[in-house]
Symmetry: C3
Subunit: 158 residues, 3 copies
């Protein structure tokens, strides 16, 4: 176990929880920690490209991905979203307060070398293909997560 390694499972695809996860990840990386984020289930939506990508999927997978938000700009809040109005309000306040946007936090995490892993089993279940996710994302399963977590001293499930 190393005191300079952290892992986060990002299960949630809500804007507020994604912000919390990336603020922690960037904070830890800025302090010199090695950080691994493991994206699973709804959390995969955070990594999706905003543009539609042509893919081969069966009907149910197509339905699922069609109904889910493509990327950080389309995420909603876990509470008080009111069809996107709440998310819009929060982004506006964040701008006024000079807080980084989720898009900026993701870019900063990548620049700081935060490792982002997409859970392949969840990708199969949600019908999300590799080419739909941000460049630089790795792909692995639960065994890989456990290996990383065994080395870290802080492991969170968001």
């Amino acid at each position: 176990m190393r005191t300079d390694k952290k892992t986060l499972i990002v299960f949630s695809g809500d804007l507020d929880r994604a912000l919390a996860a990336f603020i922690i990840a960037n904070g830890a990386a800025a302090m010199g920690d090695e950080v691994t984020m493991f994206f699973t289930f709804w959390g995969l939506n955070i990594l999706r490209k905003a543009k539609k990508v042509k893919t081969q999927k069966d009907f149910l997978q197509r339905m699922f991905t069609w109904m889910m938000p493509r990327g950080p700009s389309r995420l909603g809040l876990s509470r008080m979203n009111f069809g996107g109005l709440g998310a819009m309000m929060m982004k506006k306040v964040m701008k006024q307060q000079h807080v980084m946007t989720l898009e900026e936090l993701i870019a900063s995490a990548q620049e700081q070398g935060v490792k982002m892993i997409a859970c392949t089993m969840s990708m199969d279940v949600m019908g999300i293909k590799k080419e739909e996710l941000l460049d630089g994302v790795d792909f692995a399963g639960v065994a890989s997560y456990l290996g990383e977590a065994d080395e870290a001293n802080v492991n969170l499930f968001v």
Copy 2:
């Protein structure tokens, strides 16, 4: 602290979060780790028997348990459930992708010796009785959880 011990608090009773918890638990057990899952609040519903069990409860407890899902087959998704349609869709895709069902994951966890503890304080609050839960489940409180967590190197709250 041992690097071969993990604990999970399963607070949520959503199908998707339950799947995530049991995939981690099974993965860790398969790698030789000792795993303890501590079920509390809505998470207790995951352990309920599908059949109705006759019990002595007062009115409010009866109301609560009547409104909550009995067992893994009746759980909904935390997002996009649409009255059960989302859960049905996800189960269908999981079958197509040869991913184990939650019922199979629970059985596998039990076979692998994953320790499942139901939080007795939550059981009192939710009105859930011992005989309503799966055989093989243990019963304990927060002190017991903390004792287990102190021995583990990965502790998650799902």
Copy 3:
């Protein structure tokens, strides 16, 4: 790392999740552990004073805080809240079962020396001012949380 230190990030402002967090915090403190709770996003509402406090805010911040619950007595459940009816029912059963209320758990945590930190960045985003939060609460950012977590052996995200 010390085996007698725990941290909790309290992200959620739901009554049930707040109860879980404070039951763990009080349990650990009772066993002699040093406990730090870090309140962020919706979790800040748990620490709000029930009385309205006069503050200087701009329009959006005023909207946000006006729509969010002021303090533990006004929180709802994450599931089956039914406009507050579910929360009322749960509180009633808790009373019958002689379980401490959230207000009592917070007071007990303060008496036991549990350190409560409000995340200053979230306060800016949610428009919550220092004078609106309980006396005795500290104020800090993510770096402070990471410093505390590095010393603890159990770190949860609720």
